[in-house]
């Protein structure tokens, strides 16, 4: 039930100058150089090297390694944040996870500090530790090396290592989830440990392998959680120690308060809003001790923290200003870490943060308006700080949430120019229910990372299990199972030479056959990686922060969550649909050219074939318009992919869920894909997420109708629709909100914005110092424009810009 008591939901009386620290902390964080942190790698590796697993099962061995890290983790107070604890030992750190992709920077250890784009600083001492001690241990032991040693150089791994077919998320992570914090806030981790202890004893009285596995799981939970409690106690001790020598009274009080709080949480229940926020933050640090920093998403914080906020406000123990400040400190803490990224990844996919998603608004489990004071507080903090983290998302239920809330979200988007993204509760809830989620759990959904949907704290979604380049099977259908760039290498099945096809159906069937084959390779690999994770990387700490594992006695990696699934997202959707439509119309319907002529055009990158290219660009059907062929083909691909994925069950007993978000992969994969039948030239970026190709949709209405027509039932993994409006003034807000609501009423699932003109973005590219903190919405999450590589910047610049007043597309002039 909506519990809004604020007189002014915009909280305009508070700006950054209202807070002594927030602006300073924010500026310092953004300006801080990224430093590679080896602390976790050092302690985890050190433990594993020294102890050799003798006698311990996999789960316990892993838990002990994580505990070793947590009890040795430095308790550093870098600044005067109201929250204690840091993801890494640095002010802004890039932690090395050698189990995953930590070794990908090995060859550039001595150059990474000085590289042009997004350098990551590494001291000589830390370099030597990585090079001589940590990396040699993991050279044959990381997830990919282990998989290769188990399975050999199988086809699905070969395809992965070519990169241009698909990315298999598990080589680098699972993470991508929304934990449950309600229990730890209410009861404290000591209660969870006690339960684990009792259940372990109970399991040991049983017989059989199952009972043994349960006991091992509960034992590993206790070990991991104790490590986290010890870390928190170290924070308390350090705060106390620092306070003793502190001469500034205000600072001394801050440290003493932090010492008290860290002595209480997360071991014991949170007794206040401040303690609750600190508890969540420490738990997130603990989760990152186990799981790589990719899209571990805090979830519906306005719901989870509301009881503590409400009580403190009623008791006069908290003011709105304090709530804003504490929330602001959490927002900044969420940005205290980035991913370790090798140079080529920067060039292809760079600029991504860790995408910790926070979700506000929407409805509650009972189906009523869930917007409360904290929703508005969190929106205001987002508006004031304008930072990349958290990845901010606002749920909107057009029947239950108020128009005031809707318009307030729109104001924040206009102010930040890009955040939050908006989610249609009606569609997303029904999509999750269709996947077997109970209605009340579906109503409690939260967003993971980019745009994926989670039954918060209950579903283990592994939402980045597959990132599929849809143009790959397109090329394979064009070249009878081969890719243009690899010449004669036969990758996929032979589906015939298209020049001999008699009708479009033959080509569509060839495409589907290639796509199905490729999907099955990706799924095969995901299943194999799943087995590797089960052996090497159970996550007892994360499992303890979920509904399900404690009841089942099973780690998340063994299907402990209430709901299980694997997410498979797709890159190049719009370009692929347009290419299929181009083939249908140019070759078979209009007979503008033969298939051979089309192929020759593509193979030569349209050199000396500009007339053909212009025809393909301007006269063939485009997704994003009302064209019947475009609509037909778009729906056909969506439903085909859904059927293929959902026919598979993953190693945890859940389904594969197709999605359409791309992060910066649409730029990266585009950069390595040759010309396509829709007139796209070689190495140009694809359109992002589920967005139509730039310039395709002449009006916003056409664009939104086309995407909404796809429905959401076949997109259970989530989608990113990226829309650019030229600018928004205050008087545009209601109209802007109406567009969104109309789109949602048509069945649209999600939408996110960049409120910026072509000129502004071009200027930002040419003069980055004029726009140092320009935040953009990429395709799922937010990024700083200046951090993006050139291809991604250009893709953002050229995205179709619409006028909010007329709804028409504004043509891009180069």
């Amino acid at each position: 039930m909506s519990t809004v008591t604020l007189k002014d939901i915009s909280l305009k009386e508070y700006d950054l100058n209202s807070f002594e620290n927030l602006k300073v902390l924010r500026d310092r964080l953004i300006a801080a150089p990224v430093e590679i942190c080896i602390e976790r790698a050092k302690f985890i590796t050190g433990y594993l090297k020294k102890n050799n697993q003798a006698g311990d099962c996999d789960a316990v061995y892993r838990a002990k390694a994580v505990q070793n890290y947590l009890i040795n983790k430095a308790s550093v107070f870098h600044d005067n944040s109201l929250l204690a604890g840091n993801t890494t030992s640095k002010g802004k750190g890039a932690p090395v996870y050698p189990e995953f992709i930590g070794l990908t920077i090995w060859s550039e250890l001595e150059t990474i500090s000085k590289r042009e784009k997004n350098p990551q600083l590494l001291t000589k001492e830390e370099l030597d530790i990585l090079n001589y001690e940590i990396y040699p241990y993991w050279i044959d032991r990381d997830v990919l090396a282990t998989a290769k040693s188990w399975y050999g150089n199988i086809k699905s791994i070969q395809l992965l290592e070519k990169i241009m077919f698909y990315v298999s998320g598990k080589a680098g992570c699972i993470s991508h989830t929304v934990p449950d914090f309600k229990r730890v806030l209410k009861e404290g981790l000591n209660a969870v440990i006690k339960e684990a202890e009792e259940k372990e004893k109970e399991a040991l009285t049983g017989s059989g392998q199952e009972a043994v596995k349960h006991a091992e799981f509960y034992q590993s939970v206790q070990i991991a959680l104790k490590g986290l409690i010890i870390y928190s106690s170290h924070l308390a001790e350090e705060a106390r120690r620092l306070s003793a020598s502190c001469t500034d009274e205000k600072e001394r009080k801050r440290l003493i308060r932090l010492a008290e709080i860290c002595g209480q949480v997360p071991a014991k229940p949170a007794r206040s809003f401040y303690e609750a926020v600190q508890c969540i933050w420490i738990c997130l640090i603990g989760i990152h001790a186990e799981s790589i920093n990719m899209a571990i998403s805090p979830g519906r914080l306005d719901q989870i923290l509301y009881p503590y906020y409400e009580k403190d406000m009623k008791d006069g123990k908290l003011t709105i200003k304090e709530a804003l400040e504490i929330t602001g400190c959490l927002w900044l803490k969420l940005g205290d870490n980035v991913d370790v990224v090798p140079q080529a990844s920067e060039e292809l996919f760079g600029g991504a943060g860790t995408a910790p998603a926070v979700t506000v608004g929407g409805i509650d489990e009972a189906g009523e308006d869930a917007v409360n004071d904290l929703t508005y507080i969190m929106l205001r903090v987002t508006e004031l700080l304008k930072t990349r983290e958290p990845s901010m998302n606002a749920r909107f239920h057009y029947e239950k949430n108020t128009r005031e809330y809707r318009d307030r979200v729109c104001e924040v988007i206009a102010s930040t120019l890009s955040a939050p993204a908006l989610y249609n509760d009606i569609e997303n809830i029904s999509t999750l229910v269709n996947q077997g989620t109970r209605t009340e759990h579906a109503r409690d959904y939260a967003v993971i990372g980019c745009v994926e949907l989670a039954a918060a704290g209950r579903s283990y979604d592994a939402s980045s299990s597959v990132i599929m380049n849809l143009a790959a099977p397109l090329e394979m259908a064009l070249y009878n199972g081969r890719r243009y760039s690899t010449g004669a290498t036969q990758w996929g099945p032979q589906t015939g030479e298209p020049a001999a096809f008699k009708d479009f159906n033959e080509f569509m069937n060839a495409y589907k056959k290639q796509a199905k084959w490729l999907i099955e390779q990706a799924i095969d690999l995901n299943e194999r990686f799943g087995a590797v994770h089960q052996k090497m990387l159970p996550t007892p700490l994360l499992s303890a922060l979920f509904e399900g594992p404690m009841e089942k006695g099973a780690d998340l990696i063994f299907g402990g969550a209430v709901y299980n699934s694997s997410g498979a997202t797709h890159v190049g959707f719009a370009d692929t649909v347009d290419s299929l439509s181009a083939v249908e119309c140019a070759v078979f319907n209009e007979k503008y050219c033969t298939f051979e002529e089309l192929l020759n055009g593509i193979k030569t990158n349209f050199k000396d074939r500009e007339a053909l290219r212009q025809y393909l660009l301007k006269h063939t059907p485009k997704y994003g318009t009302d064209n019947i062929f475009a609509k037909k083909n778009a729906k056909e691909i969506i439903s085909f992919l859904y059927e293929v994925y959902q026919s598979h069950t993953n190693y945890r007993g859940g389904k594969y869920r197709p999605a359409y978000w791309s992060m910066t992969n649409h730029a990266g994969q585009g950069k390595i894909t040759y010309a396509t039948p829709n007139g796209r030239k070689a190495y140009e970026a694809f359109a992002s997420g589920i967005t139509p190709v730039s310039g395709a949709a002449g009006s916003i209405t056409e664009c939104l109708n086309s995407v909404a027509a796809l429905g959401s039932v076949n997109i259970p993994g989530g989608e990113a629709l990226n829309i650019k409006f030229q600018c928004l003034t205050d008087k545009d807000i209601p109209h802007f909100g109406d567009y969104i609501e109309a789109y949602f009423r048509q069945g649209g699932q999600q939408i996110q914005f960049n409120i910026m003109s072509y000129e502004m973005l071009k200027e930002a590219k040419a003069n980055p110092s004029k726009y140092p903190y320009l935040l953009v919405r990429v395709s799922g999450y937010s990024a700083y424009f200046n951090d993006l590589n050139e291809t991604m910047q250009d893709e953002l610049i050229t995205r179709t810009q619409y006028s909010v007043n007329t709804g028409n597309a504004i043509l891009y002039n180069k």
Binding site: W106, S107, E110
Partner: protein, 156 residues
């Protein structure tokens, strides 16, 4: 064999210095011909004379094969017992095989200033058989020599 013997005993530091100068000249000229032989030759010398550098191959046993796509160039580099042996011996079961389009591609990949497996793979300039971490390690060792030769290695 004679080369190995010479490496072991004769004017190693001086010879390493000469090789470094040759490498620097080669990099500046942009001519890739002969660079792999030069790189491995310098690497094997440095592993003998530079205590810090030789730590890279402590307890490291691996066999690398470098060959071009046409197969007419083939070099084997065996790391064993803390030394590097370079030969044209056809190795059974190499730990890692790097297949490059031409010596220029290999030159760009290893010594372009930012060795990066991903870029070279995506440009179809190199391919490989084996655990990709091994080329990461080799890339580090190569880059170190490049930085040393060009005076860009930062002091501690």
């Amino acid at each position: 064999m004679i080369q190995e013997f010479l490496n072991l005993i004769l004017f190693r530091t001086y010879r390493a210095k000469i090789k470094q100068e040759e490498l620097e000249k080669l990099i500046q000229s942009g001519i890739a011909d002969g660079f792999l032989e030069l790189l491995l030759s310098l690497m094997s010398l440095m592993l003998l004379i530079d205590k810090e550098y030789s730590k890279n191959i402590e307890n490291f046993n691996a066999k690398y094969v470098f060959t071009n796509q046409s197969g007419d160039m083939y070099v084997a580099a065996e790391f064993e017992d803390n030394i590097l042996k370079v030969s044209e011996k056809k190795l059974q079961n190499p730990t890692f095989t790097l297949i490059f389009k031409d010596e220029r591609s290999l030159f760009k990949f290893l010594l372009s200033g930012a060795p990066d497996v991903l870029n070279a793979l995506l440009n179809q300039e190199i391919d490989f058989i084996g655990n990709i971490n091994y080329i990461g390690k080799f890339g580090f060792m190569s880059m170190h020599l490049l930085l040393l030769a060009t005076g860009r290695l930062c002091p501690d």
